[in-house]
């Protein structure tokens, strides 16, 4: 598919916008629809789109397997670390209001980091599953 000039050009135009849109959805989850899950899926979709047009080896060079596997675990770990930060700073597990002298700002910080954790895990898992399905040869 990478021989087709239309697909290549359109892909190169669209993929940065898709990634921007994913970041927009992530950070505007506070003020409009959105949040970690949607942003994670859109990020994975952007990389899958790249893999569909330019081939799986090119996508593997862009986002290596080791990075994806790390992302899968790092997001869940980040979420739990935010919980432990709440524990260490004096409240219960996953309390956000102790993270900052102003409780409302603490809530903001907690929600921000938790959503990033969700984004990383969801996009990592979706991408890893795609790599596994697409990279497996067909048995006869």
């Amino acid at each position: 598919m990478k021989r087709e000039p239309v697909l290549r050009v359109v892909g190169k135009l669209l993929i940065p916008y898709m990634l921007m849109f994913a970041l927009y959805v992530q950070f505007h989850g506070d003020f409009g629809p959105g949040g970690g899950f949607q942003a994670g899926v859109i990020t994975a979709a952007a990389v899958i789109f790249y893999a569909l047009i330019f081939g799986l080896p090119a996508a593997r060079r862009l986002v290596p397997e080791a990075l994806v596997e790390t992302m899968v675990a790092a997001g869940a770990f980040l979420y739990m670390a935010v919980g432990f930060a709440g524990l260490v700073l004096g409240g219960n597990y996953l309390d956000y209001f102790v993270l900052d002298p102003d409780p409302v700002a603490g809530q903001h910080r907690g929600i921000f980091w938790v959503e990033i954790g969700v984004l990383v895990t969801v996009s990592g898992v979706m991408l890893k599953i795609f790599y596994m399905f697409a990279g497996r040869g067909r048995a006869v």
Partner: protein
Amino acid sequence: MPAFASHYTYWITVLLMAAGLYIVVARGNLVKKLIGLSIFQTSVYLLYIAPGKLIGGTAPILSEAFKVYSNPLPHVLILTAIVVGIATLALGLAIVVRIREAYGSIEEDEIVAADRDAGDRE
């Protein structure tokens, strides 16, 4: 009848649910069964979200301009349910791929027959 207009959404949900259930039970192809399962799950999402809607309300994003909001609680539950649904679908498809490699087919009848033959031979 007065029940029709007010309960119409529930009945559509029930129809979709029954269709999903029928696909899971009556079709032998494993991939189609998984698609039927996901149809069943989406009908349940509808079942949860439809009662939360208030006519004249708006999406539950607080703002000065609106007074009446639709219920946000089912949205939260269903968001989690959707993500868990795809996790299930992904795992199910991985198992189907392995079954195909082990048995050579993804039709339930052929797989059961192959197991029975293997059991007879032992």
